[in-house]
């Protein structure tokens, strides 16, 4: 049998093994999470948080995401398959803020509450959005920067882009705090390096050449921050205060060996946890705030190994 019809053979094997994994119990709440990614450390941390909440509230979750952040249509196919299982609620991190709206509307009309996570959807369909308050996080970076450079001097921003929500919020959160609270600090330039490490390195070197008296630089995401560190190292500028964003091995090393003063980290575990928690609350008919801040931390060489911080950092 197997010899003549190998296809049938393997399919039966697949069927047996999948059957075992999907012990659907009818009364358990089922919440699929469709994320923006799957294999990146950031998304795995989100999954960890989601699993924690699932265990705590006794619900069943699945966590899926496309291979990269460009395949918008594949993410919609994932959402369609998730809807087929008649879930009680859905967690969704949209790759494109508009493309999934017809399907989300369909879900919403079928009475399935949707919790958006990480990034929002351009509509009022989601009952709540769990995300990092990037603006507040960047203001914290501004406070730390001001303290480290002694409340006066020139600083620069190397941002990842000027169009995405995170790019705008992090840049504006930093600049607005400096302008409103620290009149003796001057933001001399804002440059955009697309989150590309090499591009950000070149930008940083140009900034340092143009501003020999610069006291500090804020890099708004992992690639930007690493680029800033590279640029400062290649120009051999000691004593310049660098503050970064997110984590990753390079950034953690830079903080440990003093090239970077510290960085803001989002709380991906918290994003996952709060998303599942909000979905459970939505199923139980509780009202939810429109946005749920999942929190952020500032970490530096002194607290990088604290369990609370280490849990939300990734390599």
């Amino acid at each position: 049998m197997i010899k003549r019809y190998p296809l049938i053979g393997i399919l039966s094997v697949v069927a047996l093994f999948t059957n075992a994994t999907v012990a659907l119990s009818e009364d358990q709440i089922y919440i699929p999470l469709i994320s923006k990614g799957f294999q990146h450390q950031f998304w795995q941390a989100v999954k960890t948080g989601a699993d924690q909440a699932a265990a705590e509230f006794g619900v069943r979750i699945t966590f899926e995401g496309p291979d990269n952040e460009t395949v918008v249509d594949r993410q919609i196919d994932m959402l369609a398959a998730a809807l087929a299982n008649k879930p009680q609620a859905i967690g969704f991190a949209a790759l494109d803020s508009q493309a999934a709206i017809p399907l989300l509307r369909q879900a919403s009309e079928a009475g399935i509450p949707i919790v958006a996570f990480d990034s929002g959807v351009d509509s009022d369909i989601p009952v709540s959005t769990t995300t990092t308050n990037n603006r507040a996080a960047a203001s914290l970076a501004a406070d730390k920067m001001a303290k480290l450079i002694g409340g006066k001097g020139n600083v620069a921003v190397v941002a990842h882009d000027q169009t995405s929500r995170t790019g705008i919020d992090r840049r504006d959160g930093f600049i607005e705090r400096i302008q409103s609270n620290y009149p003796s600090i001057n933001v001399v330039t804002i440059q955009y390096g697309a989150g590309d490490q090499l591009k950000s390195t070149e930008l940083t070197k140009a900034i340092l050449t143009a501003n020999p008296d610069l006291a500090g630089i804020f890099g708004t995401n992992e690639g930007s921050a690493n680029g800033v560190v590279n640029g400062v190292r290649e120009m051999n500028r000691r004593g310049l205060v660098v503050i970064g964003y997110d984590s990753g091995k390079a950034q953690k090393d830079a903080i440990r060996n003093g090239l970077m003063a510290g960085a803001i980290t989002q709380n991906p575990v918290g994003i996952g946890y709060e998303t599942v928690k909000a979905a459970v609350f939505a199923v139980k008919g509780k009202t939810l705030p429109l946005t749920i801040d999942t929190g952020f931390y500032y970490y530096d060489a002194t607290n990088i190994d604290d369990p609370e911080i280490a849990a939300v950092l990734y390599d």
């Binding site: 999907v22 699929p32 196919d77 398959a81």
Partner: protein, 336 residues
């Protein structure tokens, strides 16, 4: 136990009447049915109208791309640029409709023309400049990926100002006639493209030359046929079919996503191969490709509905692609 079944089993009158061509499709078709049965048995939520429609919809873009690649593969070539060409055509439609504010038919026409023109470029590289198809279309794949980003300014172009655009793939003409069967237009378009391509391959001189060139290009050339011209025509035709795929995906997402497209060519080629088309050219069917695309969509959807861990989904899909092609080869050996 079944080892005792002799090859004569296949030679019943029924199969002889249908001929070998149909016979080959039967195997792929049987695999599809088996998949559907297995998933229906293992998950109570799999077999419902809305999920079947989701599968058809997931197969529509890949199916159209796979049909385009089938044409090229039959001539003994390959087209790696179909995915990014699709995106390029979607972006062109976005520029014409959203940036220039032209009426809908012009946008569609522009996408199809852009596709045909790019296909013609690939065809020229292959047929006139004798660059191996793999390299020529690899180059085109990268050029088109870059062009899409440049033209769109690396931002998605939305079609909110073009009323009716999202209905091209999302709307349902069938659903208006039969409300219980809301099959999206995108699926309808896939089948129309399939029927047209099948007609061209089997009933026109272009189709005959495509098979002939794929079997023995030198012989065809020596009998006085301008093979370069026919090959270029096939690549251009494949390109315009990618234009249709571009319109489909843009309509489905109501936006042209300029970064998307890389990797779609491999999934299309997988559908072609599962459908029994030979990568060495000269042999293949559109029906097979269509079934291949449906198998991939069913498998992907079914594994998701079963909530198989994502790591395992890709492993299972890969294994099934290899097995499907192996089964087809075994069958071919038996009937040869």
């Amino acid at each position: 136990m079944t080892a005792s079944v002799k090859p004569e089993y296949h030679k019943t009158l029924f199969f002889r009447l249908l001929g070998i061509g149909i016979h080959q499709k039967l195997l792929a078709f049987a695999s599809l049915i088996i998949l559907l049965i297995i998933f229906s048995v293992t998950s109570p939520n799999f077999m419902q109208t809305s999920n079947m429609i989701a599968i058809l919809q997931a197969a529509s873009v890949n199916g159209v791309l796979a049909i385009a690649v089938t044409l090229v593969i039959i001539t003994g070539g390959i087209d790696l640029s179909v995915g990014t060409l699709m995106t390029f055509c979607a972006v062109i439609a976005g520029v014409v409709l959203t940036y220039w504010g032209m009426p809908l038919p012009l946008g569609i026409l522009a996408a199809l023309l852009a596709g045909a023109l790019c296909g013609l470029c690939s065809g020229t590289f292959v047929a006139k400049m004798h660059i191996p198809p793999f390299i020529a279309t690899l180059g085109m794949m990268l050029i088109l990926k870059g062009l899409s980003l440049v033209i769109s300014g690396t931002r998605p172009i939305y079609f909110n100002d073009t009323p009716g655009f999202d209905q091209i793939a999302r709307g349902s003409v069938i659903g208006e006639l039969i409300p219980s069967l809301p099959i999206p237009n995108g699926v309808l378009i896939l089948f129309i493209v399939a029927i047209t391509a099948s007609y061209i391959l089997n009933r026109t001189i272009l189709g005959r030359y495509a098979f002939a060139i794929g079997s023995n290009e030198e012989a065809v050339r020596l009998s006085g046929v301008n093979t370069a011209r026919w090959k270029m025509t096939i690549y251009a035709l494949a390109g315009s079919i990618c234009g249709i795929a571009g319109i489909l995906i843009a309509s489905r997402l109501n936006s042209a996503q300029p970064a998307l497209g890389l990797g779609y060519e491999l999934e299309a080629i997988a559908a072609v191969v599962i459908g029994g088309t030979s990568l060495s050219g000269g042999r293949g069917t559109i029906v097979g490709t269509l079934i291949g695309a449906l198998i991939i969509a069913t498998l992907t959807n079914g594994l998701r509905v079963l909530a198989v861990a994502q790591e395992w989904q890709t492993i299972v899909t890969g294994a099934i692609i290899i097995l499907a092609v192996y089964a087809d080869m075994l069958r071919r050996k038996n009937t040869a």
